[in-house]
């Protein structure tokens, strides 16, 4: 795959319906790798994905896939695959027929082989002869992903792909997304569930109320927001003495003592990170566990939403 065929670029893209602005001046560049599009329901994730997939024109701005506009350009589907959020599939077709039809419509030179490979990737080789109408929700989802993957696209867009999947299927899908990205594809998936994005991708585009609120590695985003205190959970050999010592530190905003350890709120991450080992050494306390408690997407998300 040539890397440039997998670039999705947005410059100042906006989309409005009458008075309602669904997407507000979003600019981003997506390259090879897995990116998570994170945002609450109604933030505009689906709108953005549909625009990237050529099913919605931007009201303003430029949106290109592999250098060409996505709107009114069926050729982009040679390199782009979309798994939309609507679950409907033609129930009367078997999984084999469904994915094979997709392969044929993509004008692949060897559709049967591609179908077999795609079905194998999605672990549907046992049930390929059954009609989609008899499938569970998770299986239908996998069939749709198989149909989107059959032509080995360099850009893969998935709208809430983990909906309806059990944990094992989720792990498998995440693994699949990583492998696809490692082969050079640009994978973008949307979600409003934080654990999913956390586990699959480090790179995140956060969209809230139509605006791009943050982009990049989510841990760095978190660190960029120094307004809110960082919270750490610490277990040590002598919690109380450690608590007293920590309270004397200017970087520490507060300490809570609980049955399973200390909860420390620190204003400045860097200063605290340097201060803690110093204090522990001086007091001769053995530290068993230091966990940054809300170094997770949830707090990033909640914080951004509250803005």
């Amino acid at each position: 795959m040539h890397p440039s065929t997998g670039t999705v670029e947005l410059h100042g893209v906006s989309r409005w319906y009458g008075n309602v602005v669904a997407i507000n001046d979003v600019s981003m560049t997506l390259g090879p790798g897995v990116t998570g599009l994170l945002g609450p329901n109604g933030a505009g994730k689906t709108t953005l994905l549909h625009m990237m997939a050529g099913f919605l024109p931007p009201s303003r701005g430029e949106l290109t896939v592999a250098g060409r506009p996505a709107w009114r350009n069926p050729e982009i589907y040679r390199v782009l695959g979309l798994v939309a959020d609507r679950e409907a599939v033609p129930g009367f077709l078997t999984a084999w027929q469904f994915v094979l039809a997709s392969a044929r419509l993509h004008e692949l030179p060897e559709p049967e082989q591609a179908t077999e490979r795609a079905l194998g990737q999605m672990e549907l080789h046992d049930a390929w002869h059954r009609r989609l109408g008899t499938y569970s929700k998770g299986m239908r989802q996998r069939a749709r992903v198989a149909a989107a993957l059959v032509h080995q696209p360099t850009v893969l867009l998935l709208d809430e792909p983990f909906n309806g999947m059990d944990p094992r299927q989720r792990l498998h899908m995440m693994d699949l997304l990583h492998r696809t990205a490692d082969a050079g594809a640009t994978v973008l998936f949307s979600s409003h569930i934080l654990e999913e994005v956390e586990q699959v991708s480090g790179t995140v585009q956060v969209i809230v109320a139509g605006r791009l609120a943050a982009s990049g590695d989510y841990r760095s985003i978190r660190r960029l927001m120094t307004h809110r205190p960082h919270v750490f959970a610490i277990r040590s050999s002598d919690d109380r003495r450690l608590a007293v010592a920590l309270m004397a530190e200017p970087a520490v905003a507060g300490v809570d003592i609980g049955p399973s350890g200390l909860t420390v709120r620190a204003g400045d991450y860097g200063t605290f990170a340097r201060a803690l080992p110093r204090i522990v050494q001086r007091e001769r306390i053995r530290v068993r566990q230091v966990t940054p408690s809300d170094e997770s997407l949830e707090s990033v998300f909640a914080y951004l939403v509250a803005q």
């Binding site: 099913f55 069926p74 589907y77 469904f98 419509l105 993509h106 749709r144």
Partner: protein, 237 residues
């Protein structure tokens, strides 16, 4: 014209329950003609209600409506159209494939019934005339309903309005509206192949053929263009 799309569309159409709706109508048509012929071999009295009143006014348009809106409208409605559109297949090929299936099924059901009816009512030639008119107007109707499926979210209701109010009600009242009535083209075409006292022709043949072609081509082009700009709604849609 894409064979994969055509075969999937045909399977979807013939497998759905709405297709079974269609079968009573042609049976009613042929049955009624047979019954009437049995009671009174001279069709001059009962021919018109059967051929024009039931055949061209009800059987042909209703079958064309159910089939024509079903080949594309159902997919747009439940969202499976995305699987079709997210491929590099030209939108023209998609529309042509669906048009072929719609016109083909409509013709198979309606033209057969009308042919049999025509044979019962008059002669084989009359049957052929009715069948040919059905073929031509199936294409015209299918193109129109296909275009409606892409243009609006309620193509069946609009199609019903067209058939019942425009062609039915206004067609009887206003002479001018007949120029835009596909039913009238069918009558004119049939009557020119096999003149019969049963059919009351109100349009000339050249006009009927030209307008049928206009509807067929116009509907197809409109459907293709609108499908190129097909939009998937955002979160709320």
């Amino acid at each position: 014209m894409n064979a994969t799309i055509a075969s999937i569309t045909a399977r979807a159409l013939l497998g759905r329950r709405r297709f079974l709706l269609l079968l009573p109508l042609p049976l009613l048509l042929v049955g009624l003609a047979a019954l009437a012929h049995g009671l009174d071999p001279d069709p001059s009295e009962w021919g018109e209600p059967v051929v024009a009143g039931l055949g061209f006014a009800v059987v042909l348009p209703m079958i064309a409506l159910v089939v024509g809106t079903g080949v594309l409208g159902a997919e747009i409605d439940d969202g499976t159209i995305v699987h079709l559109l997210a491929t590099p297949v030209a939108r023209r090929d998609i529309v042509l494939a669906k048009l072929a299936v719609a016109a083909g099924v409509t013709t198979a059901v309606a033209a057969t019934a009308m042919f049999l009816t025509g044979v019962i009512v008059g002669s084989v030639r009359f049957g052929v005339g009715l069948a040919v008119a059905c073929v031509v107007c199936s294409i015209a109707y299918s193109a129109v309903f296909l275009a409606l499926s892409v243009l609006t979210r309620r193509p069946v209701l609009l199609g019903l309005l067209y058939v019942l109010i425009w062609e039915g009600l206004l067609g009887n009242l206003l002479a001018g509206s007949r120029v835009l009535s596909i039913q009238q083209y069918a009558v004119a075409i049939a009557a020119n192949i096999a003149p019969s006292s049963v059919l009351h022709v109100r349009l000339s043949l050249p006009l009927a053929v030209a307008m049928s072609a206009a509807f067929a081509v116009g509907g197809t082009l409109l459907a293709i263009d609108r499908l190129r700009s097909f939009r998937l709604a955002g979160e709320t849609g």
